[in-house]
């Protein structure tokens, strides 16, 4: 029975096989990193083909896992290739440095992210912050944001335990969780923006 699921799986698995084939033949480390990002797409597609609410609940963590591993590996790549202390010019697209558009887009993304809350909101708000930092060459205090993200992680853990052991307080837990995850993801993502250059603290 070639149902829709199997048809989708067929195409997606072929893509995965092609991606892995290219990966097997590649020798350059940065190309490998790009290709690994490529093969993550079929893996997410396999989950998406499930087509239930559960699929979405599995995609969101999968996405965040993918990007966080990519972040760690890209930094490891920079360190191992000895590129760490290389100066990087500020983005330097003159148009966006002067215009108001980046500010507006950033504010919109951050505000919308806060309304959405959770993983989705965290990702969108984080993107907004990064875009702002990048276009303005701004850098904030690393440690403070890091601590905020740590605290929000703890908030989320508390929420989890409330859900598990005191389910009658689910309302409080859902608020704590939504805010905790939002802050955590957004803070982590925006810290990437501050890692842009090789500034000395």
């Amino acid at each position: 029975m070639w149902n829709e699921y199997s048809v989708g799986l067929f195409i997606v698995l072929i893509s995965a096989a092609i991606g892995f084939l290219a990966l097997a033949r590649e020798t350059d480390d940065f190309h490998r990193l790009l290709l690994i990002d490529l093969v993550e797409i079929p893996s997410l597609a396999i989950i998406a083909l499930l087509g239930t609410d559960l699929a979405e609940a599995l995609i969101l963590p999968g996405l965040v896992v993918g990007i966080s591993e990519l972040l760690a590996l890209s930094q490891l790549y920079i360190v191992k290739e000895g590129l760490r202390s290389r100066p990087v010019k500020s983005p330097g697209i003159e148009v966006i440095e002067l215009a108001h558009a980046p500010l507006i887009i950033s504010v919109f993304l951050v505000a919308y992210g806060i309304v959405l809350s959770g993983f989705t909101g965290g990702g969108i708000a984080g993107l907004g912050v990064i875009f702002y930092i990048m276009s303005r060459g701004h850098s904030e205090r690393f440690e403070i944001v890091e601590m905020a993200s740590g605290i929000s992680w703890a908030v989320w853990i508390i929420a989890f335990f409330v859900f598990m052991f005191l389910p009658q307080y689910w309302y409080m837990a859902v608020m704590l969780a939504a805010v905790g995850i939002l802050l955590k993801v957004a803070a982590k993502m925006s810290l990437m923006g501050t890692m842009w250059g090789a500034h000395d603290e």
Partner: protein, 148 residues
């Protein structure tokens, strides 16, 4: 000898990813050959579309502060499952009352089916996931700051 040639290949860690990717190709082909796979009829957390609802595509029913009917694996383990799904914050209630086109925003706002799954019934997944983010970021930050 063929054995020592093979062992020379696998002893170089630059070839490791190639080896693994090759294995992945083989298994992917195996999977393609074992298609078509059956798709189980009774899934957990099935999607249902309710055209015309302001919460579309995430309307799972239930007025606020009551229990919506969702299919979970162990209902006895989460007695309050369904409450989060049915809940609307004042802001999302306002949006729902005034427009038909903001369903995603309304459901992503605290409360809604995904919050139910991610935080309540499958909360442990999210604990692990946010820990992965925490650890990966820790590695990146350590490497970034080391020696500067």
């Amino acid at each position: 000898m063929i054995i020592s040639r093979i062992s020379r290949f696998i002893s170089n860690f630059d070839n490791l990813l190639a080896l693994f990717a090759g294995a992945c190709v083989v298994i992917a082909v195996l999977l393609i050959l074992s298609l078509p796979l059956p798709y189980a009829e009774n899934q957990l957390y099935p999607k249902s579309l309710n055209a015309g609802s302001p919460l579309n595509p995430y309307d799972r029913g239930g007025p606020p502060f009551t229990q919506a009917d969702i299919v979970v694996q162990y209902p006895e383990n989460s007695p309050y499952a369904g409450y989060v799904t049915a809940y609307l914050t004042p802001l999302s209630g306002f949006m729902a009352a005034h427009t038909l086109y903001l369903g995603t925003t309304i459901v992503a706002h605290p409360g809604g089916i995904l919050d139910e799954i991610l935080y309540n019934t499958r909360g442990l997944d999210t604990v692990v996931e946010s820990t992965i983010l925490f650890i990966a970021f820790g590695i990146a930050a350590f490497l970034f700051r080391k020696g500067s």
